[in-house]
């Protein structure tokens, strides 16, 4: 395959960025999208142009490190992570536009690399269960209904990649937050801190500059782990309950 690649390049956090155009020949449909970029980078390096910076680590769809806007879609045309996208999803002669995540709360560090540390700071405000090492009771002392455990698991599969934010016209992280609120809220262990968790996480979310949710659903459509939209309903419900409780 031959491709025309239009790629966002930006020298640093404060530098001006621009779209650069590159030609790439001999792309195999069996390459992953990131391997295609590896090949381009080898070509650039050989030509004396600095390779394009982009994030990736596990390259098997689970670490959440990779993430690119591909032709305007977070993670591209398939429901998967960028690293699990393969070139057979594109056709010979195609022009592909590649940009970093778009969100004010995810500033660009260089080229296609963004700073997602806002997610860590949201978790710091309550995305956990307070239990010190060694103080846990015997694991079987609290049974958890299987359906609750399943729902908790299904939303705990969030990989924190940020595609939901990148896809959202408001730049909201409600899906990310709702997934954590629902995961911990479904379990008996998560109940004692349920009210404070949602209140503090939402406050941090807003403080970071993420936008509000207006129920568009672009987040869940872009989510490589298919986190359902109802976690945002759960988030709102928990928030209402917490406020009723005087938080």
């Amino acid at each position: 395959m031959k491709l025309t690649l239009k790629i966002w390049r930006q020298d640093g956090p404060t530098a001006e960025g621009a779209i650069h155009t590159y030609q790439l020949d001999d792309v195999s449909p069996d390459m992953s999208f990131l391997e295609m970029l590896d090949v381009l980078n080898e070509q650039l390096n050989a030509e004396g142009e600095e390779p394009i910076a982009f994030d990736s680590d596990c390259r098997e769809g689970i670490c959440g490190m990779c993430g690119l806007m591909i032709n305007g879609d977070a993670h591209g045309p398939e429901v998967t992570t960028t690293c699990q996208l393969h070139m057979r999803s594109f056709s010979d002669g195609e022009t592909i536009t590649i940009e970093p995540w778009r969100s004010e709360a995810f500033p660009v560090l260089k080229d296609l690399v963004v700073d997602r540390s806002a997610f860590d700071r949201i978790i710091q405000q309550g995305g956990y269960i307070s239990v010190n090492t060694g103080s846990a009771p015997e694991a079987h002392s609290v049974p958890v209904p299987r359906d609750d455990a399943l729902r908790a698991f299904n939303v705990a599969t969030c990989i924190g990649c940020g595609a939901c934010v990148a896809a959202c016209p408001n730049g909201s992280a409600s899906l990310f937050m709702g997934a954590k609120i629902t995961h911990l809220g479904e379990l008996p262990q998560g109940q004692p801190e349920r009210d404070s968790r949602v209140v503090n996480m939402v406050a941090q979310h807003d403080h970071e500059g993420f936008g509000g949710c207006t129920n568009i659903g672009a987040c869940t459509a872009a989510c490589p782990k298919e986190i359902p939209l109802d976690v945002i309903s759960q988030l709102n419900k928990d928030l209402r309950t917490a406020i009723k409780h005087g938080h």
């Binding site: 390096n45 390779p51 994030d55 596990c58 670490c63 997602r116 956990y128 090492t133 694991a139 609290v142």
Partner: protein, 675 residues
């Protein structure tokens, strides 16, 4: 690349056993003094850990905040330790090269985590888990450490459940268990195929809770590039801020390396792209011994390489071998045919043929080696990469007939989808293709019973140390070891060391600190100034090919010696001809890789020397010269029942070998057989 002459070497060896007393690695190393004191307590094995915890001195809570701890790596072993030490009140700095601690490669573990809970009442116990682990490690691990691992395994499950880890449960609401990796009891806890992710998120959340509490500071996108030792004690690290390029000095009372394994020395592995040996290797060069570096685990069921662009390999659960039948064509001429057109009589179900009683379920190393052998014979399938087809069929046709597509889907969840996404082939229609890939390393920095390296004040946890898995790790035991070390072992042993602190304050202008920082800057300047013609990746790929060919599934004296020569000359060329563009004071991924590959060269050479020295086959290490007449691994307990701990002797010197004898008091050594 020429193939090693394995047949000749094997023949030579079979006759050679009678002569005994080999020293294949003579000239490649210097014999050193034995490692005698592992600090493992005496007494009955079941009481040793209790005794050690009792003897380890305590640190007064009000003193803990005056003590500082650096932890490098935030996978299971690092995040759990950082959280626990933060909770205890120490001042912790946690470093990771990823953009968040949650991304460490523990996240990719699929299968599960072992624990001796005996919830199934099927005869499991701490002792049985201990026994299985030592046996699985082919009697090359330290028994005191392994017993402790089995002992604390049950606490891990309690802790994780309390954190909200969503393990699979039964209808009654209790935890489900499965049997894993050929053991006869069901002791594996799991969260569908994403157990590592869920455990890591639990540890990450505990870590972030401590960040909010002010006890832990995280340094993401930071890479440790040097260890700082003062008066022979570990006192800090030099790290590079990977965004600004700033070279930083971080000083502390103690340093913990939880920096994972070095499987990426093979270039292609199931490790994440960023996994590297630099933190461990820099410590090695400062005096930490590297133990059993040649022990590598190669996993038989990975998706094969599709072309020279391949950047990493993906593992598929080996449970697939329960229903899939492995075969290649009998005739080379059939290798590029559609497999569905190859009649039954022209197929070679080679595992069923060679190992009739275990068939497709032979252990990982045997299945892997057999696949390599048939491909080396030219009977591999799939695309030709560099002139060879490296793949074998894993055929579900008969299982689909028996269980139906629905039954297979229920049993293997998303594995069939994952395969199709990567290869573009539907395994319900065409047989899967698989090939072995490097997956885990059992070797690592040598540690004593306290998980302390040979540098006082440098502790090593998780895959980065060597201690618990011997020559081969059992499935679902990596997660167990990472969390055991971080939650339940290190926090007790490190306090005994810290009880002597806080240590004398040092400043950034201390000569040892300045020297460490300058050496880092010197290396960076060198890489950026060579301005040669080859990319870092091209060197890494070539190194990986050498390692895979000569220090992979089967090692021989001639092959290893050849590999050492090849690595040495490639390393020379790298320093003279590498091309790293961009600057030092910016995000520069080529520069990051250059530093890692430079350390992989030195590690790769040591791995070959270690493999050369160990003229026996054990676990993941198979020497062509040491096999039975049937081609099975042959251990030599009389000569090699020791840990090979290597000391760095300087840039232009050969390493020094220190041996720690392995003594088993609670278990009897046996030779395994799978025929």
């Amino acid at each position: 690349m020429d193939m090693p002459d394995t047949v000749t070497a094997a023949e030579a060896s079979l006759s050679g056993f009678l002569d005994g007393d080999y020293d294949d690695a003579v000239g490649y190393y210097t014999p050193g003094t034995p490692l005698v004191d592992t600090k493992a307590p005496d007494g009955p094995i079941a009481e040793r850990w209790q005794n050690r915890k009792l003897e380890a001195r305590l640190v007064n809570p009000s003193n803990r905040r005056k003590l500082s701890v650096i932890i490098v790596g935030t996978g299971l072993a690092g995040a759990s330790a950082a959280a626990t030490l933060g909770e205890a009140g120490y001042n912790v700095k946690a470093f990771c090269y990823q953009d968040s601690p949650r991304r460490a490669h523990s996240i990719a573990a699929q299968g599960g985590i072992n624990a001796a809970k005996n919830y199934k009442e099927d005869g499991d116990s701490v002792h049985r888990l201990f026994y299985d682990t030592v046996k699985g490690g082919d009697y090359r691990s330290r028994e005191s450490n392994v017993y402790r691992l089995a002992e604390v395994s049950t606490n891990i499950i309690d802790q994780c459940v309390a954190q909200g880890v969503p393990f699979a449960r039964e209808y009654g609401g209790l935890l489900d268990n499965r049997s894993f990796g050929g053991v006869q009891v069901s002791r594996t806890f799991y969260a569908r195929g994403q157990t590592g992710q869920q455990l890591l998120i639990g540890a990450y959340q505990a870590l972030e809770r401590q960040v909010a509490a002010g006890t832990v500071s995280t340094y993401t996108r930071h890479e440790m590039l040097e260890l700082i030792t003062v008066d022979d004690k570990a006192r800090g690290i030099v790290a590079r801020d990977m965004v600004t390029g700033e070279i930083q000095t971080h000083l502390a009372d103690v340093v913990v390396l939880a920096s994972g394994g070095y499987g990426n020395v093979f270039y292609l592995s199931t490790n994440a792209m960023g996994c590297n040996v630099t933190a461990a290797w820099r410590a090695h060069r400062k005096g930490a011994y590297m133990a059993n570096p040649c022990y590598t685990q190669i996993h038989p069921t990975c998706i094969p390489v599709s072309g020279s662009h391949q950047s990493k390999l993906t593992l598929m659960s080996e449970s697939l071998r329960n229903d899939g039948r492995i075969w290649v064509p009998k005739n080379q001429a059939d290798c590029d045919k559609d497999p569905r057109d190859i009649p039954e009589e022209d197929r070679d179900y080679y595992l069923e043929r060679i190992y009739p009683s275990f068939g497709n379920l032979v252990p990982r190393d045997i299945a892997s080696r057999a696949a390599k052998n048939v491909c080396d014979e030219g009977r591999g399938v799939g695309p030709e990469v560099d002139g060879v087809r490296r793949g074998v069929y894993l055929d579900f046709a008969s299982a689909i007939e028996r269980l139906g597509e629905q039954g297979i889907t229920e049993k293997y969840d998303n594995l069939f989808d994952m395969y199709e996404r990567i290869t573009g082939e539907n395994p319900f229609e065409v047989p899967m293709r698989i090939y072995p890939a490097v997956h885990y390393v059992m070797g690592g920095l040598w540690v004593d019973y306290d998980l302390q390296s040979t540098i006082p004040g440098l502790f090593v946890t998780g895959e980065a140390n060597f201690s618990d898995h011997g020559a081969n790790r059992l499935g679902a035991s990596a997660l167990m070891q990472g969390l055991a070390d971080g939650y339940f072992v290190l926090p007790h042993t490190i306090r005994d060391y810290l009880a002597d602190g806080p240590f004398e304050e040092i400043t950034e202008d201390h000569p040892a600190v300045v020297e460490a920082r300058e050496s880092v800057k010197g290396r960076i300047d060198h890489f950026l100034s060579v301005n040669g013609t080859r990319s870092v990746d091209s060197y890494h790929r070539e190194l990986g090919n050498i390692m895979w060919e000569y220090c992979g599934m089967e090692r021989t004296e001639t092959g290893l010696k050849k590999a050492i020569d090849l690595i040495r000359s490639l390393k020379d060329d790298f320093y003279r001809n590498v091309k790293v563009l961009g600057g030092a004071e910016t995000l520069n991924q080529s520069l990051e890789k250059a530093g890692r590959v430079a350390d992989f060269f030195e590690l790769g050479e040591l791995m070959c020397i270690d493999a050369l020295n160990r003229r026996e086959s054990c676990g993941g290490h198979f020497r062509g010269e040491s096999q039975t007449e049937d081609g099975e691994a042959l251990r030599h307990d009389d000569e090699y029942a020791y840990v090979a701990a290597w000391e760095w002797a300087g840039e232009d010197s050969i390493p020094v070998l220190h041996k720690e004898d392995l003594v088993y008091t609670a278990i009897e050594m046996k030779q395994r057989s799978y025929k």
